[in-house]
Amino acid sequence: MKNLNSTFEGFKNVINMHHMMATCKDTICEIDMSDVNWIDANMCAPLGGVLQFNISENKITKIILRDVKPRIQDILQKNGFLPNFGFDVEKKPDTYGTTIEYQRFGCMDSQSFKRYIEKHFRGKGIPDMTPRLSQKFRESISETFENAIDHSMTQVGIFACGQYFPAQERLDFSIADLGIGFRENISNCLGKHFAPEEAIEWALEGMNTTRKPKNGKPGGFGLKLIKEFLKLNNGGIDIISDAGYWSFKQGQIYKNRFKAPFPGTMVNIEINTSDAQSYYLESEGIIDVEDIF
């Protein structure tokens, strides 16, 4: 395994790991960690997702980590990642309040995600973030989680993990699902065929949605709201789905493609924690409550 940063390279490393494991059958998977000098802890979400996916597919039966550097072990113990994969280690205390615990959720488990939000974010908030920014962050990850439930049809689960980086004044939170990605969903629902990175872009534009009126419920703009918020926050979002990579940072869109697909979707939200401004919703003026419907 190589370093796992919240970058195109980091996501590529997760995808490569998945494809290596996917060739196995009932195998004990030994991961060589000697080259791993850094893991952005939020990357445990997609990493945990692919490990769990390959366990559920009987590709791997057990995971052994070899030559883990102490500080990497520290990260994986603090956020509770290791016990999820059979490692008999204690969870280390989060001395600096910068860790947001790794957790796997059931494929329709909104209530557990609410409890997760209550436990980790409500009341204590994130250090150095205004209460308003904390709320926008919570709402953003909730929209992302609901989007995963709505579109992925995953049976393996939804994986979440975050990390606050005080020195860089950023908070990264990742949500991964191992289900139907953007491209396949658009193709199945609408018969439109896009390149994987273009499928992500399509889903983030205007009124586009794969929802059908006959199914009764409008939707499909949670991610668009997040993008609007992150533009003003000077933060960023990475979306990886199928082989597509779509990223929005500092107001710029970047697209790329991996050589092999991720078997689902990962979303990484990066908040600029030093931001103290108010947000777009207030910038739209005062709404007349008598004229809302």
């Binding site: 909730s142 609901e146 949605t209 009126p213 419920k217 409550v289 419907f293």
Partner: protein, 123 residues
């Protein structure tokens, strides 16, 4: 004479200040729809709502636009105790829902054209 109006407090239905999950929005929707079906006017209270998502509001309110006419909803629904920020998000959800259901006929025609009449009829 007592006015035929029912107040539905979102946090009471959800059991939390977090109005974020689509499935919780569905519970709110069912209560609102029941009251409307009885001919009542409905006051939707946002009192104590902390976090709010479009996923919740689409379920709770957006889908009503596929079940009742715009005029009926305009005359029977009202909102109380909402912050301006809540109202802005709600307004966007409603505008989108109206557009979504307005497109219903166009969308279904396009689907029929794409799949062929027989495929649609078979579903």
């Amino acid at each position: 004479m007592k006015e035929n109006i029912e107040e539905i407090r979102l946090t009471e239905i959800v059991g939390s200040e977090l109005c974020i999950a689509s499935e919780d929005g569905q519970k709110a929707h069912d209560s609102i729809k029941r009251a409307l079906a009885k001919g009542k006017r409905v006051k939707i209270s946002f009192k104590n709502v902390d976090d709010l998502t479009s996923a919740f509001l689409n379920s709770a309110i957006g889908q009503l636009y596929g079940e009742f006419s715009d005029d009926e909803l305009k005359s029977k629904l009202s909102v109380a105790d909402a912050s301006n920020e809540d109202l802005v998000l709600l307004k966007r959800v409603i505008n989108r829902a109206k557009e979504f259901f307005r497109d219903k006929e166009r969308f279904e025609m396009a689907t029929r054209k794409m799949l062929g009449e027989d495929d649609v009829a078979a579903n």
